[in-house]
């Protein structure tokens, strides 16, 4: 997973923020520690960042910092699940996932009065993948099981959801900590989803509604 890097100096020029702001956001854990990549250059050690991730994160912080306190922002960006449960009425009213997905989930998991964040996340991920058309309902069922059984083991850490297909057989995987994964020939990686960013999106959706 080669990713484009951006040096600290370029980042500050591009976004117009100051060193002080960058360090303050780091302190408040708005920018995760693992994005600070140290590399030696001819001027000594320099800090680099994964370009896409950091730029979109800073854009978000800049947009929201007037409405929310830094601590609230930090909890939004943290990969830990939010301590939220939504009642069924609230959930459907807020329109977080479509009715089709919602009904499908109820069909699979049974009728429930309220939903925890983990359950919301399952629905959100399912909805997202169904919308791309890469995943069928049948496969969606398996996805719900994978997330339900294993997500609690790696929550709070960075992880990716992988969906591969070969010769008509499909497999779901949860890979922790963004490690490298390589496949044999003929394997098609259908879905590669960064779960912490889904969590972030979902938290935002919930707080907006």
């Amino acid at each position: 997973m080669e990713q484009e890097l951006i040096s600290k100096k370029e980042l500050l020029e591009l976004t117009g923020i100051s060193y002080g702001q960058l360090y303050r956001w780091k302190r408040k854990k708005l920018i995760p520690e693992e994005w600070f990549i140290r590399k030696s250059t001819f001027t000594g050690q320099e800090t680099f960042f994964p370009k896409e991730k950091i730029l979109s994160r800073i854009e978000k912080i800049k947009n929201m910092k007037d409405d929310l306190s830094l601590d609230e922002l930090a909890s939004m960006f943290s990969p830990n699940p939010a301590a939220i449960t939504l009642s069924k009425e609230e959930f459907t009213k807020r329109n977080i996932v479509s009715l089709t997905t919602f009904r499908f989930y109820i069909e699979q998991k049974g009728e429930q009065g309220a939903f925890s964040f983990a359950q919301l996340l399952q629905m959100y991920v399912l909805e997202k993948l169904l919308q791309t058309g890469d995943v069928s309902l049948e496969e969606g069922k398996l996805l719900l099981d994978v997330l339900e059984n294993h997500y609690s083991k790696i929550q709070g850490r960075s992880c990716e959801l992988l969906f591969i297909r070969k010769m008509g057989i499909s497999i779901w995987m949860l890979v922790a900590n963004g490690s490298d994964v390589y496949f044999e020939e003929g394997v098609k990686v259908v879905v590669r989803l960064h779960l912490p960013s889904c969590i972030e999106e979902l938290k935002m959706k919930i707080s907006e509604g």
Binding site: S18, Y19, G20, Q21, L22, R27, T43, G44
Partner: protein
Amino acid sequence: MERPDLVIAGVGNASGGVYNLVKIAGHGKLHGDIDCIDFNIQGNATIHGNVKAKVTNISGRAHMIGTLRSEQIKIQGNASIHGDIECKEIRFHGRGDVKGNVMAEEVCIHGETEIVGDCAAEVFDASGSFTIGGLLNAGNIHIKLFGNCRAKEIGGEKIEVKQQGMTFFKKLFLHVGLTAESIEGDEIYVEHTKAKVVRGNQVIIGPGCDIELVEYKDAFQCDKGAKVGSYKKI
């Protein structure tokens, strides 16, 4: 839940648990995690486990293998902590030795302190000598130079490093100064500092500095008694 007191006044061992007051005035060893309100060490203590307390006071000698989480921490004796420290306010008056990271709102250093990891705080106030192996990251950094200070990297909003008045003797025998690889902040004022790079919006280099490269955005001033390799505006 009822919280009992744990007091060791002679020589004793105890296990961890939930307490109101933990006081070691003699020679004590604690095994296991401790959750208490007051944590008070006046003698000699070894703690194998994590400590969570509201107020921590170490005036004897403490050796802690684990992390320390407390709202207020005051170290007047000799403390060595193998894990991280998380607190609101920490004051080092004696000798502090932290093998992990320190995360606080306010850090005050008067004694001799060594932090192997990073140190993050809103306010960092030092007038002793310190060594920080990683990044010193604080909103307001205020360092009065009395001894040898060292940090790998320093980053923050306001950074001020000043030397206090010294007697002639002290000047002869003591090396006093701050050494860092890089110093980055919005407003920077440094004296008697040796660094490879200083970057900031407003940078003032005071007497006794030896800086290889200065990069500034708005303003730059340099004292006559300072050595600056090169500087450029970005």
